[in-house]
C-alpha cells in the first residue's frame, strides 16, 4: 500500500462530503501518516485511553462500541475505508468508547499534533474535518431513532442500507445487490440492541420472506422494493452532498 493511495482514500471521502481547494488538498497530502496492519477483531483504542493520534481506515472494517457495567455491548457505528473513526479524540482527549477492527485492516495513523497544526493553518480543512465529525453525529442520531423506534427487522434493514449507501459513496458505481457486511449475528445483535438469538430469528425471517439474505459476512438484496419499504431509509442524514 503506497502513500498516495493511502491519502487518496481520505481525500475521496472528504471530497464527497466537503469542497476543498487545491491548496487544502496539497496540505492534506503532506500530512505524515504511519501505515500499519491490524488483525481482525482487535482493539485499536480503548475506553479510557488518551490517544495522541487519529486512525484513518485505509482498508478493512472497524466498529466503535461501548460496554455497560452489566457487560452488555452496544455497537455505535460501523466504519469503512476513508473514515477517521476517532477523529473526535483530537478534542475529546479521553476515549469514552472502544474502537476495534472487524476484519484484518490497513490503518493510517496521523498525530494529533500534525492535525492541529493543519487545522489552525487552514480553516477550510478544519471546517471539512469538523463537518466530518458532524456527519458522524448525524449518523448517531439516526441510530438512536433506529434502536428507539423501529422494530427489529426494520432496524436490520436500515443498517444494511446505510452501509451500502456509504460504501457506494467511496467506491462509486451502481447500488450493488451483493456487498460485504462482516458482522457475526452476535455483532448484528449488538448493533441493533437485541440478543443474538433474536438477531438470528429476524435474519431468518427476512431471508424466508425473500427480502434480504444476510449471511457469511455478506448481504444479498433479494427484493429491493420491499427492503426499502421496510427500512424507511432516507439518505439525507448522511449529508453526502458538499453543496447541500
Amino acid at each position: 500500500m503506497d502513500r498516495d493511495s493511502v491519502v487518496a482514500s481520505l481525500l475521496r471521502r472528504l471530497e464527497t462530503v466537503s469542497k476543498l481547494d487545491p491548496a487544502d488538498i496539497a496540505a492534506i497530502r503532506s500530512l505524515p501518516i504511519a501505515v500499519r496492519h491490524w488483525a481482525g477483531a482487535r482493539a485499536i483504542v480503548s475506553d479510557g485511553e488518551r490517544p495522541s493520534e487519529c486512525c484513518l481506515i485505509v482498508e478493512g472494517f472497524c466498529i466503535r462500541s461501548k460496554t455497560t457495567e452489566a457487560g452488555q455491548r452496544q455497537i455505535l457505528s460501523i466504519h469503512i475505508p476513508g473514515d477517521i473513526p476517532d477523529l473526535q479524540s483530537l478534542h475529546l482527549h479521553r476515549m469514552d468508547h472502544d474502537l476495534s477492527t472487524l476484519v484484518p485492516s490497513t490503518l493510517g495513523f496521523i498525530s494529533h499534533a500534525s492535525l492541529r497544526t493543519l487545522t489552525h493553518a487552514r480553516p477550510n480543512v478544519a471546517d471539512a474535518l469538523w463537518r466530518d465529525t458532524l456527519i458522524d453525529a448525524a449518523i448517531f442520531r439516526e441510530w438512536i431513532v433506529n434502536v428507539g423506534q423501529r422494530p427489529a427487522p426494520a432496524r436490520l434493514a436500515h443498517i444494511v442500507l446505510e452501509l451500502r449507501e456509504r460504501l457506494l459513496a467511496i467506491r462509486g458505481g451502481a447500488e450493488p445487490a451483493t456487498f460485504e457486511f462482516p458482522l457475526t449475528q452476535e455483532q448484528i445483535g449488538e448493533a441493533l440492541g437485541i440478543t443474538p438469538v433474536h438477531a438470528n430469528r429476524i435474519i431468518r425471517l427476512l431471508r424466508e420472506d425473500g427480502i434480504v439474505d444476510v449471511s457469511r459476512g455478506q448481504v444479498h438484496v433479494l427484493d429491493e422494493t420491499r427492503l426499502a419499504e421496510l427500512a424507511q431509509f432516507d439518505d439525507r442524514y448522511l449529508h453526502q452532498d458538499p453543496a447541500a
Copy 2:
C-alpha cells in the same frame, strides 16, 4: 434580559468545557446576538430547513427530535441554557431533525456568517465550538447505549441523572434532590423509545419503590444510592473537564 447575561450563559458553558484565553473571550463577547422570546412547545427550526443562524438557549428548555415516516417521534437530546443545540447547522446546512422549545424560552440567535468569521479568525474558538459539537455526539452515543441496552426503568434513571449533572455544570452548587424536568410522560416515552403507557408504568414503579419521583415537570430523588445503582451513570462521557 441584558446583553451581558446572554453572553454570560454561553461563556459559562464553553468555559466548563474548554479553556479560553482573554482574547478569545473578548471575541465571543463581540458576537452579534439577537435575543427573542419563544413560547413553549414551538418549533425553532424544522427538519429539511436551511437555517442561516444558530440558536443559543439563554433561558428555558429545548429538545431535538426526529419523526419517522410511520409518525413515531424520537427525542434525541434535551437542551438547557448555555447550549447551542443547532450548532451543527453551521456545517450541515440542511437540518436532518427538529429543534423545538419545551417551555417558554429566551433564545439568542447568532448568524452563521459571524460565527464563521469568528472561527476562521480565532482557531482556539473554533476548537472550543468544535469540541462542543463533539460532546453533543458523545451524548448521542450514550443515548444509543441507553435505548439499545438498558431496560426502561434504568433508561429513565440515566436520563434524569444526566440532566441533573448538566444543570449542575452550568449552575454550580451541590447535587440537588429536586430539579426541573419539564417533559410530559408522552415526551419521556419519546426520549426512552417506549410508549406513553409504559412510561407511566415505570414512573409509577420507581415512585412506589421509593427511588425517584418524576411528576409535574419535576424530579425528586428519593433514594440517591439506589437511583445511581439503577442508572449505572458515569459522567465521563459528558467531558466536562477542559483539562481532561
